[in-house]
Amino acid sequence: MVFRRIPWLTFAAPRNFHVLVQVLVPWLVGGAVVLAVAGLYTSFFVAPPDYQQGNSYRILFIHVPAAWMGMFIYLLMAVYGVIHLVWRIRLADMMARSLAPTGALMTFMALWTGALWGAPTWGTYWVWDARLTSTLVLLFLYLGYMALRTAVDDRENGARAASLLALVGAINVPIIYFSVEWWHTLHQGMSVTLTSAPTMAPSMFTALLLMTGACWLYCAAIALRRAQVEVLEREAETQWVRDLIRDGDSRTWDRNATVADARGTIREEGRS
């Protein structure tokens, strides 16, 4: 019974989503801070210098999480895009839209930290390595996604177009990755042979894990928050937003939310 009453669609209704974010974000932020403090401490004071790379390898503790998040967020965005396209759940689109800037930021940081790690390690800021190149392409995919959204005048059409683009892009990400990888092995002689991540001491692995956790929680918190603002902006005319502004944030949600709520089709009723 309980399960039937709180299916995942409960939180797809904008009003319930607002409550959910209100409850979740402090925990996510708190978790991110705790993990980041522990992770930074481990990365700088516990993990020993690498015997080959000295201290520059400490950049990897933020580089690897950023790269993972960049890729993960794009896939997540595509999943939300599909949910939006197939079930017309607008919240999914707001989530996809909210994830994009953070994903682009993470991808950019992966490139930036990668360059700064490469400089002392390979002696150059940039090589046309497979991973670097496909990360750069990923950044272009993010930029195209965001640009398409702003370029289409009609909001709903822009959202659906962007969802489709995210899907096509996500299918292409592995193809791009493998083709670039293949291209790189063919041209191995021309570029620097890259060492992979150094063999890790347990403390290094712990630091990486902690920083990845912190990064993940941060991304979740900021994307949820952004989606929440997005919901408020789009639902500005509804009764529940007015009640919310008048009475302050409530912590209770509407257990009878339906698919129609999630799609915004019965929103008209809520208008005064």
Partner: protein, 64 residues
């Protein structure tokens, strides 16, 4: 492990790279959070204004 603050900052000669990475990362995360906070406040203020306007106008149904 570190020989004082200076040694920590120097990072065995890799200081600029390490701090350049961590610094920009921190700065961009901070910027993202501040921008979002500003946007959130603006949205809230806009909603409050709108609520006041409808309350004073007493005319339901004027919105689309």
């Amino acid at each position: 492990m570190w020989d004082g603050v200076g040694d920590f900052i120097a990072m065995g000669g890799h200081g600029p790279y390490v701090w350049g990475s961590y610094g920009l990362f921190a700065a961009l995360l901070l910027a993202e959070m501040l921008l979002l906070r500003r946007r959130r406040r603006r949205t809230r203020a806009m909603l409050v204004r709108r609520l006041r306007r409808t309350a004073s106008a007493q005319s339901p149904g004027e919105m689309t």
